[in-house]
Symmetry: D2
Subunit: 282 residues, 4 copies
């Protein structure tokens, strides 16, 4: 097994907490003569769980490093050693373009180090925009068919595509438990509200009716508990009585797109760990 | 009726919208030869309601100005002409001092132009702090008596006091509908959460369990719909997975006290109009 | 002169303060039987200047309304009556795409009600992106020629184009006083820093070296005082010691694009008045 | 040297970066059978400097742990092992009470785990407030004497007091280089501006004149470079053209007091490392 010179890798560990984990892993790094470029750990005191993300560099073999780490970690530890790679995403959209557009621009100028393998939409509104960026746009109409039938068509497409994450960039359809369970921890959604507030349809109308002075947006992993998956990122913007709900929606869109892109960047850089229904973000 | 030279007054109007309201009121100001120091209007397009707050100065009689304004406004208009005055508040507390302490300091250095006529508490924890500022502290123990009995004692005290507003500065008891209805639009509360989120007990524990990345606080008027009264002010602060719920509570307290004091200042300056379950804040 | 039914117009007044201005203008509105959809005034107490922005609707003639208003205003008042129109902008860029891209997306989905008549660049890096949106891209190379020569070529282009504003979307060249004076109050810039901080080149490196915990961006009108024109909008984002200056730059770009688009939207909606070296934003 | 059962200590290391530092220190922790309750490291890649803050618990001797750590660290490493202790501060004030008051309230309710050994003031305005909290107030008048003479009196007082930090809670006098050099890294200031902006007198007037849309505050260590010491914390608040400079000052005070108290809390918890003219905040 040949070593690669000046290899750089992300080491991601997630296991039950135990004494000496930092010592044992850093011993492996030291014996492999690695540079630790960054290193962050966190112990969830409530659940006794240990999380670590290190970026290491040197002349080493990924497989060998992983094996050595596994040998010092608890038996059921999750341990990944990943060369920084260009991940692949599929984006789901409906009609609104702001979140999609933000990702397309960041992708086009190289800020988001990602391949967008396809955009799948239940309306064809955004086909023109996606086409401008030479990215495949697949319209799967949901009208006059049941939810399962529509998802079945979507899954047929997904089976033919190699991807790491599904990004719901204002995809206005609820996914079935069957669908979600097939892509556990792989679906990222932008929720048009400051969770846990205003769950459900038209949160900006709800926010307007409630007379709030701040609105927000939440990026989260999708679970089968609607709008209740682990939160990755959130942000807010101030509003006043002068804004009607459409103005609030407009203001909210800026927050939505920034929060989704921020969350996506964190996930693509392997900075997000799942911890039950919460996230650890390094 | 003698005019007062260089009088300054706040004119507060709230009525059904109609054509010419700005014209008719500004005509009154013009004919009285008043300076308009500031002037803000808002029309709620949904409910067809007009709100105006003007600060005027000149040589005039408050009563005469009010009469002239009423004569040009719709018959059921609310019209107040108020000389900027030192309002009176009663503060209700339980055990936590941060919100109370912030008001006491602002009061002591003259930033909050208000008289604190009494602090009423269901525990005696904060008696020492209040005593340091030479403000009456009244402990009405709530143990071993029913809610109605306790409130009855509180109301006995309130009957003997002249006050404009009741400020719930982390008062951890729920007021009965009977109590609230007696002080409609006169009770200001700081809610330890970013409404409409995490209603109920220990919102910081709820926020921690939910893994949010932002926490907030909400100052609102109290209605009989628990935590659902008209919002006056809100603010937020970012948090991370590193904070346990007690850390979140600590971070939240800073937001709570600033938001309550900001709301209180707005109310004391007659900048807040009630508009159904919402507020207009000029 | 035929009246147009259900016309809507923005009335923008800017003049020396005097008694009765609100009365006199609202009298004109009333006599023309107009609906006032929104109305905001501000008096700068320091300079004794009055600003007003009203949105009125009804059956009226723009020219007649303007004449009537002028007849009641001080002789040197600025008074504009504008039908909400689709303004025209020219965008200047260099190599960075984030601010341009954000405008292109908002333009493409109709959020920004504007015509982008051309993008002018001193590098051709962004030609491909602009081409994707079928917008004219004009590359005027600045190499091996003096500043005046380059600007002269730019002005030749501008003379052939009808436009309202020039938007500097990360245009990394300093404009000469001659150029700026030709487009007074018509050039909007996004400054990659929280003005008045870190004036000059590479503010993110400066911010990193200074160890700041917050970075920001400022949209402003361009005057001949470098980075010192009237501020339209600002925003910030928190940073930490973990970010190197390139990370800060990345974080700053999100703020830059949102702030520029927000400022542009305010200007396009005629919500921004110049007041010496400051702005009034309604 | 007897071990103490269930001792908790903060380990603070600051040294040139070298391979194996995490390994070597965590080996010491492991061999001492310590629990690592939290652990944060940072390597400044520009200056090749390593920073670590660990909280450890177990049955151990502070002196022995420190010796063992020193034996594995580079020869000129700074290494401290500190039992969480109640630090002592002296607060310097002039006339404004908001920053002082915020510390007094947090101190009085136990939120700030600190002893305020004295408040030293160059005016007696705040004597009454400080007296309310039974804290020594020392008025050293600065009138009609030169700066050196005044500081000499202050230093006479400080010599008799045991303290860890001097907190300038809106102390409106400039300290001489002689004074500052005696308390290097021990003086914390709240600057009434978002550094690096508006250095010098009356920054709120400067901010008003500049027409900014956001104002802020900066807590920093004091060095002899006026307003240029290492930044600990910053925050901001939005403002508008409606605020005159006194309103801005009022809004700024809320930010000032929160930022100073936040910085103080970080310093008291040994979370702040100095790194040249910057800070590392864990």
């Amino acid at each position: 097994m040949a070593n690669i010179e000046n290899l750089k890798a992300r080491v991601l560990i997630d296991c039950e907490d135990a004494k000496g984990l930092v010592y044992k892993t850093s011993k492996v790094f030291f014996e492999q003569n690695l540079n630790i470029e960054s290193n962050r750990e966190f112990v969830d005191p409530e659940n006794g769980r240990f999380f670590m993300r290190s970026v290491v560099s040197g002349d080493f073999s990924v497989a060998e490093l992983k094996n050595k780490l596994i040998s010092v970690l608890p038996s059921n530890a999750n341990c990944r050693v990943i060369e920084p790679n260009r991940k692949k995403i599929v984006i789901f959209v409906t009609k609104e373009s702001h979140a999609l557009g933000d990702i397309l621009i960041r992708h086009s100028d190289g800020e988001l180090d990602v391949d967008i393998v396809a955009v799948i939409a239940n309306h064809n509104t955004l086909g023109e925009l996606v086409g401008r960026f030479d990215i495949p746009f697949i319209h799967i109409c949901a009208e006059n068919i049941c939810r399962e039938e529509h998802e079945s068509s979507v899954i047929d497409i997904l089976k033919k595509i190699d991807f790491d994450y599904i990004v719901l960039a204002k995809y206005m359809r609820i996914l079935t438990p069957t669908f979600v369970s097939q892509f556990d921890g792989k679906i990222i959604n932008i929720h048009h509200s400051f969770l846990p507030a205003f769950i459900g349809a038209n949160p900006y109308k709800q926010a307007y009716d409630r007379g709030v002075k701040i609105i927000g947006a939440t990026a989260h992993f999708v679970t089968n508990d609607l709008d209740e998956g682990p939160i990755i990122a959130q942000d807010v913007v101030g509003v006043s009585h002068r804004l009607d709900w459409r103005d609030m929606q407009r203001a909210g869109r800026d927050v939505e797109k920034i929060v989704l892109s921020r969350a996506l960047s964190l996930v693509l850089n392997d900075r997000v760990f799942l911890n039950g229904n919460k996230t650890i973000v390094f």
